[in-house]
């Protein structure tokens, strides 16, 4: 995630606003991805019947793999769209 590289000292003036805009967009994208992951993996992995508060092992493993797959697919789709956008 590249948003960690930002947040350095910014000069006063117009450039500041651009950076803030970009940072806001990035945060929006990241939180959007996060919300999607949470809703998708929750619906797939966690059973609606709650026996105890902690996650059990099956759910943990399922969530691990769900998140890993989601990120991989997200990355691949992003690459494809980039190449499609670059060629078009």
């Amino acid at each position: 995630m590249s948003f960690l590289g930002r947040g350095g000292p910014s000069p006063a003036g117009g450039v500041n606003h651009e950076r803030i805009e970009m940072a806001i967009n990035e945060i929006d994208m990241v939180s959007d991805v996060f919300n999607r992951i949470v809703s998708s993996c929750h619906s797939k992995c966690i059973s609606p019947r709650y026996a105890e508060g902690d996650l059990n092992k099956g759910e943990s493993v399922c969530i691990d793999r769900c998140v890993a797959k989601f990120f991989e697919v997200n990355k691949k789709v992003g690459e494809k769209m980039q190449s499609a956008g670059a060629s078009a």
Binding site: L4, E52, D54, N56, K57, G58, S60, V61, D64, R65
Partner: protein, 479 residues
Amino acid sequence: MSSQNVDSAPKPSQVQKSGVRAAFEYTGIPPSWFDKRPKLPSRNWLIFLSVTTSIVAYYVYDRRECRRIRADYSSRVEHLAKEPLGTTDLPRKVTVYGAKWPGDEDHDKSLKFFRKYVKPIFVAAAVDYEMISGRRSGDLANRIADEIKTRRRIDAGIEPPSQSPMPLPNQPTLEQKRKRELEGGIVLVGRHTLKEFMSGLKRGWTESMDRVDREDMLAQELASDGRFDEPEEPVIDPEVVDGEPLPTRSRLLPSQNVVLFPLQMSSSSPSKSTQYTSNIPAHLDTPPSTTPTLPTLLLVPFTNHIGFRQVPNMLWGFFNERHKVRAGSEAAYSLIMSHVRPFAAANTIVTASEIQESQLDGRQGGDFDFDLPAESYYDGAYTPSETEKARKTYYDALPAKLATARALARGTRAPTKEEDSHPPPTEVELRAERLKKEMRWRGDEAGWEIVKPGQPVQWDERFVDTLQVFDEPRADDVG
């Protein structure tokens, strides 16, 4: 109704039919149907129906048995998945190795077996797995040897342990990572994987821990091979290498030896000894006398049927998948129940006759003979003569291509129309292509050397106490 019964009393068959007839007489069914007698279909139909029905029934029975066996084993381990897991704890993770079956273009077959027959039980028991496949013969051995050498280098302090780009607060330390690996386990699918694994293990712990780039080494070797020599008079041609990690070639005259290397290596005679100048002090580089304990191994029997001659085996396998399901599920169950026993290495004291025997049919005794019959199915697999033929055709065609490339590059002749539209490969591309092909051929040959039937499983005395195998769970195990 009663009058009808009295009339037809002497003919009992008609009495029953008249009941039906009475009920259905006016429903539109053709009246002739009431007088017909039921009879079997003809002999041919009977044959056809019985054959078809038996085949379909056997298939259905087999698949239902598969489902039943899987459900049975899953239910035995399900209770493990329902245990709670703390938020910072990690589940148990096993590493699955699957090498390429010799002769099969699809390198994934071993892992497909794992995914279909062993994984469902892991999923039911909430055991995490990481699948590593060897794309070409010998790939897995190389990978394991490299991993072990990296581990040795980290242990010796030469190399810093790998840093993640984003250090998290509760990142596990190296010891914790290794402990988790040990608790996990290793799954080896098939005898060929076992052989490659043991060969990689032995190489990793015996060879020098110097970082070796196989491509570079092969490039050095090929450069001194003389295949790209000029056929005519000695013309020193220092070509510029554009970014490719290959040395240029010039006529190897004793006085002039202008060979440019991108690396800082002393050139001159094409001796391999110059390339092993390791940067590691000699006292650290000796192979250690004891090897650390390895995670417990799970040996999964696997046979891949390929080729026309094995089509009957494939048919048999199609109709008898329940055996594979049972084998895979039992293996998964033994890993989950974690009942271990030491690796049964062969006896070190053998008589002369036993040595002769073992050399004949490759038997070593103990766990080394795991799944030995599977090797008899390497029929039609890779043979070294294939590579020889491929090599011969390639090297026969090479001088012509080289001449064309050189002529076009030097401008001694103008390109023809076809060459304009489809430019032939330049010399640099030819070198790169040769490097790729040689890597592949040599890799295949080396891999076949490891895996071929009759080749014993590699062993080292240091491994004696470090290897364990998952065993059949005892009858009194819970679950």
